[in-house]
């Protein structure tokens, strides 16, 4: 039976249908199912992240026999195509046509921003992957909860590590030239410079730059560290080209939570060896739930889960705890939302975590290093920063008085011409 269902799930994946309802084949004697809407990018350049998100959540559902806290799940997957306008339409469709109880996703910051007002208007409990800082800061949305991380949450930790443990003082940064990249680098720069380091160069290749050769040839000499914040396949591209231009070993290569993802690490291979990244997750984490998750992903999809897949498995864990806390009453939005915000996981795939008053996660940030185990490359965890909030060690009120992280804030004082 379960074999058969797996085939069905895979078939749905393969067809790439824009709307697919996954239903359990055996209906238990239960009232109405929990209806979950899933906003995914399944076409275009962001599709690889979307596919992994789907794999992560389906892995969770399969492991729980397609139920959450005893209630059957009816999942509706919508393809936003990575386009904010389409994302709005799909959000409306999920709520008004499919009457979902909770929405998962979206992937990209600009998608999350595009449906911000819809989430409020529908008062729809939403678990999001998108990093957009202000949705849990200055413009906090009471229905929006983020179990993964803000764009810069792991950047703070890797900056601390780069300065204190690697002893770097002079660094350059690069990331994709869009909101996520700006916020991601800003967090690194702020902590690194507050400790006494200097960011002497910031490179912003466009999201669809075909080639980084030009940027890498323009790197300043005598760098102690080079921070990369590229997302998706761009992480692979830049790490590989750093090696091709003979720059590997000329500085410590450090990065945020996107560039050296488990989904790409085998392809990055030798070129990434020794690189340090800060992330709230690693497929290497020893928590029992994570060992199970990694094993299931390897069984069904032949890959280690990366951060996109992990986020969506974590969605499942958060939902499970929230549905239990709300005694199954997902129909009452206020109760359900309160239950989500009140979730405290002690044994999730990322370890212990809970949410702050803005709905953003507080949990461990891990420093990982690319190492080789047998003939497989892994992100080995070499240091843990426990209980990291989105505000790092800064005072929350001070933090919120500053402008949101951007390309121009904090100002880069040490840039060399």
């Amino acid at each position: 039976m379960s074999m058969k269902r797996r085939t069905v799930l895979k078939g749905l994946l393969a067809t790439g249908a824009s709307v697919a309802a996954v239903k359990a084949p055996y209906v238990q004697a239960q009232p109405a199912p929990i209806r979950i809407g899933f906003l995914l990018v399944k076409t275009g350049p962001l599709a690889s992240g979307g596919l992994q998100m789907e794999q992560g959540f389906l892995t969770y559902l399969k492991d729980r026999n397609n139920t959450i806290a005893g209630r059957r799940v009816e999942l509706t997957v919508s393809d936003t195509t990575g386009n904010p306008a389409v994302c709005r339409t799909k959000m409306q469709e999920l709520v008004e046509r499919f009457n979902v109880h909770v929405v998962l996703g979206p992937l990209a910051a600009f998608e999350a921003l595009a449906i911000d007002d819809l989430i409020r208007q529908y008062r729809m409990p939403t678990l999001a992957l998108a990093g957009a800082e202000d949705l849990t800061q200055r413009k906090a949305n009471p229905w929006f909860t983020r179990p993964g991380a803000t764009s810069a949450q792991p950047s703070h930790a890797i900056a601390d590590f780069t300065f204190k443990d690697l002893g770097a003082r002079r660094a350059a940064t690069t990331a994709d030239d869009f909101a996520f990249g700006h916020e991601n680098v800003a967090g690194f720069q702020r902590v690194f410079e507050d400790l006494g380091g200097r960011v002497v160069q910031k490179l912003w290749p466009p999201l669809n730059a075909p080639d980084y050769g030009t940027y890498l040839s323009a790197l300043k000499p005598n760098l102690d560290a080079f921070y990369i914040g590229q997302a998706g396949s761009n992480g692979l591209k830049i790490v590989r080209q750093i090696a091709e231009y003979g720059l590997k070993g000329k500085f410590k290569l450090v990065g945020g939570f996107t560039p050296i993802d488990e989904s790409l690490i085998q392809q990055i291979g030798e070129d990434g060896m020794g690189a340090y990244t800060g992330n709230w997750y690693s497929a290497e984490l020893e928590f029992p739930e994570n060992r199970k998750f990694v094993e299931l992903m390897n069984r069904d999809y032949k890959v280690d889960p990366g951060v996109y897949a992990a986020t969506c498995y974590l969605f499942g864990e958060v939902l499970e705890a929230a549905v239990k806390a709300a005694a199954g009453n997902v129909e009452d939005k206020e109760t359900f939302q309160k239950a989500i915000r009140g979730v405290k996981l002690t044994n999730s795939i990322r370890g212990p975590c809970h949410f702050d008053e803005f709905g953003n996660v507080v949990g461990n940030i891990y420093i990982r290093q690319v190492q080789k185990r047998g003939n497989k490359y892994v992100n080995a965890v070499i240091k843990t920063y426990p209980n990291v909030s989105q505000f790092w060690t800064y005072n929350k009120d001070e933090f919120l008085k500053n402008p949101v992280y951007s390309r121009d804030w904090p100002p880069a004082r040490y840039l060399e011409k």
């Binding site: 076409t43 075909p210 040839s217």
Partner: protein, 286 residues
């Protein structure tokens, strides 16, 4: 100094790749009067086919061959079964190539998933070439050499063979060419095939530099369009000069004025369109 040398080499290498991509595009555009908007998708398909052959243990050069032939087949099919029935309907032909581009892109996503496929350069070309204190990727220099060889071969084909003469006649004046008995519709197929093979091979050559990923088609097509608008449709020399001009503008634009990179890239295109609409080396199309 090193900065200028490396950036110049970068520009030349990127220009070389662009020439492989856009030479066939330009010839087909000049002859058939329509831009094949599926050309970027051909490039991407070539990159995926090449990556797949390498993935299954094939030799890199075999991968290039397979990509060229595979995409060539798609090209013939597109020309014979889709464009031919729409002969004379230029608008319809352009739109249908755009539709085919979307179809190829979606099929690629289905077959190769959303994850990028990386193609390692041949092992012997992987270590960077050390030139007096600075390093440059060896593979890129090889791509330059290949583009130069391709340029010479295409030049000989176009200027020194009967086939080339017929193609040039078709580009210059199709009515007259038909009138003197040149089988223009057969030329269409040949040139379209040539363009597709070149695009597929270029995709395979581009693999180690750009990777194969969803969206590669949309990244490359505008560059091919700029090259052809600058150089003039149907002109081999135009494609050659245009490719390297775009290569230099792109690289130095990014290196020196990163915020204006795309502006610098597209500005010459606008100027050329305003002042020399047929392109630097092109003939005004009737």
């Amino acid at each position: 100094m090193q900065f200028w040398i490396v950036q110049t080499l970068n520009s030349v290498a990127f220009g070389a790749l662009l020439f492989l991509l856009s030479s066939g595009f330009s010839l087909a555009f000049g002859l058939m009067r329509i831009p094949n908007l599926a050309h970027g998708a051909f490039f991407m398909l070539g990159a995926y086919l090449g990556a797949t052959v390498v993935y299954f243990g094939g030799n890199f050069w075999l991968a290039v061959l397979a990509a060229g032939l595979g995409v060539g087949l798609v090209g013939i099919a597109l020309e014979r079964f889709i464009l031919r029935p729409l002969a004379g309907n230029i608008q319809g032909q352009v739109l249908v190539t755009l539709g085919v581009a979307f179809i190829i892109a979606d099929v690629c996503l289905l077959l190769w998933t959303g994850d990028p496929w990386t193609v390692p350069a041949p092992p012997s070309l992987r270590p960077p070439l050390l030139l007096g204190g600075f390093a440059f990727p060896t593979y890129r220099l090889v791509v330059v050499a290949i583009a130069l060889v391709a340029a010479v071969v295409l030049y000989v084909l176009m200027e020194r063979t009967r086939l080339g003469a017929m193609i040039r006649a078709g580009v210059d004046d199709m009515e007259m060419a038909r009138g003197v008995g040149i089988p223009v519709s057969l030329l269409f197929t040949i040139v379209f095939l040539l363009g597709a093979v070149l695009a597929g091979a270029a995709g395979a050559f581009g693999g180690p530099i750009l990777n194969a990923y969803p969206g590669l088609d949309a990244d490359m097509l505008p560059l091919a369009l700029i090259v052809v608008i600058l150089g003039g449709a149907g002109s081999l020399l135009g494609a050659f000069v245009g490719s390297f001009v775009v290569g230099f503008l792109y690289n130095f634009g990014i290196a020196l004025f990163p915020d204006l990179a795309y502006f610098i890239l597209f500005l010459p295109m606008v100027l050329v369109l305003v002042f020399v609409p047929q392109g630097l080396f092109g003939r005004a199309l009737p």
